[in-house]
Subunit: 269 residues, 2 copies
């Protein structure tokens, strides 16, 4: 089911700035029995991303009601897209324009089910992310880098591609954030220059201190990843997964993935 500005619809105005310029933001979240998972974090992130792009974020209660309305009966995925609305020709953003609001549900993909493998295979992508601090961290609609990176492989055995920026710093996965454990401490890439700061990452950074795990948001090299005790990816759909293989490198489980994945679900929404 798709709601466009609150009404069941399957299309969007051809003059929408989301289409013309990717002028908007989005979220992808899980639902269970008609309720969004981690809603408070998702809404906070949507509001922050909207503010960064000077978009008018819809009010929380109304948006949550739309998410619940489209959600499947069992487990599922809901995507929220906010755009700057319909625009005349030209880049100048209209002031105080109501956003276009698209809320849609899709069934839970097989790779997100509870019985999906806990360990995944990954590869290094060739594409290097450009560094744009004005857009870094934001889950905006300008995602051609992700599309080009994901086009680098067809092998269904490869679950995720890891991206570096043009300085060689590791940033994250095409569709996930990256984490690694080394000597009992948690490291995740700094996203001040590029990448998307996902809600699962935010929740893990909040949960780790509760588990007594020191956290480091840092510049990480490819070598640092390869030298990790455990490498993980995370997002709101799959939770935390262990990277068992990264091109030719392999890791045996060190036990951190389960611990962190459980912690993800500990605090309520």
């Amino acid at each position: 089911m798709i709601l466009v500005n609150g009404r069941p619809d399957d299309c969007v105005d051809a003059l929408d700035r989301g289409l013309a310029y990717g002028d908007g933001v989005f979220r992808t979240l899980r639902t269970q029995d008609g309720q969004p998972q981690w809603w408070r974090d998702h809404y906070a992130r949507l509001a922050a991303d909207s503010a960064a792009l000077m978009l008018t974020c819809p009010d929380e209660a109304g948006l949550r009601a739309e998410v619940c309305r489209v959600a499947e009966a069992g487990p599922g995925i809901v995507k929220i897209v906010l755009t700057r609305g319909i625009g005349a020709r030209g880049y100048a953003p209209p002031r105080d324009q109501a956003c276009t609001r698209i809320v849609l549900s899709t069934p839970l993909p097989a790779h997100a089910r509870d019985d999906a493998p806990n360990a995944v295979a990954a590869r290094w992508c060739t594409l290097r992310l450009a560094r744009q601090p004005r857009l870094a961290g934001i889950k905006h609609l300008n995602r051609l880098e992700n599309v080009l990176a994901r086009a680098e492989w067809n092998d269904p055995a490869i679950f995720e591609g890891l991206l570096r920026d043009d300085s060689g710093a590791v940033i994250g996965g095409v569709m996930s954030n990256l984490l690694m454990m080394k000597n009992g401490e948690l490291f995740t890439p700094d996203l001040g220059q590029c990448g998307v700061a996902g809600v699962a990452r935010t929740r893990l950074l909040r949960a780790a201190p509760r588990l007594g795990i020191p956290i480091h948001i840092a510049r990480l090299s490819s070598d640092a990843i390869l030298a990790a005790d455990e490498v993980m990816i995370c997002n709101s759909v799959i939770g935390v997964r262990r990277v068992g293989r990264l091109d030719d490198a392999t890791w045996s489980p060190a036990g951190w993935t389960e611990k962190l994945n459980n912690a993800l679900y500990e605090d309520s929404d």
Copy 2:
């Protein structure tokens, strides 16, 4: 009038990848009496940009017929948008998928009329363009940098903002390419790292040698721009315009703008 995949329509599927990821390319061109201006160059550029993103470009004759169908009776603007079509959730681009094709007309804006001032005022933008060679030059739908840069000013007396990349190299205008004359030679920024390679710029680079003007595609600093004999912007809608003022700097006409603007129109499409 708007044609979506050849049929009059005013909306696009809410699952289109153009909306989800900015996964597509576009062109903006002038029409006169129902015919596109510089069609050969525009189609060549559209085909090249499509190929760079592995999009299937529609055939030339059919697309041209659609442009003519939507074109206004007098002078007008036509925009062509090609996207990777409707997608399932996920970045992976479907193989050999037919594009979504949007062709729409708008009236000629006042600033593009023949009686619009030949000289314009510009400013330096604060935003620095990120360098992504995989997307450089392509007129793709990921244009948030342009939106943010254009949001830097409201003063209607300022026609254009000039953009530098994060290394300080001048790249072009928010909606135009940049040219400068120095000692009788034409300079325009190298677009190998970022920026959009417009058709007007291509035509000028082809025309200048015919006029005996040497051309340089180069890294240009802000100081080089300020030291120019004449600074110009160009695109397919406005032709060539002289920059008469750039923040506090001003220039008197040196005669190159008219010469180059005339040359733009010399070879037929």
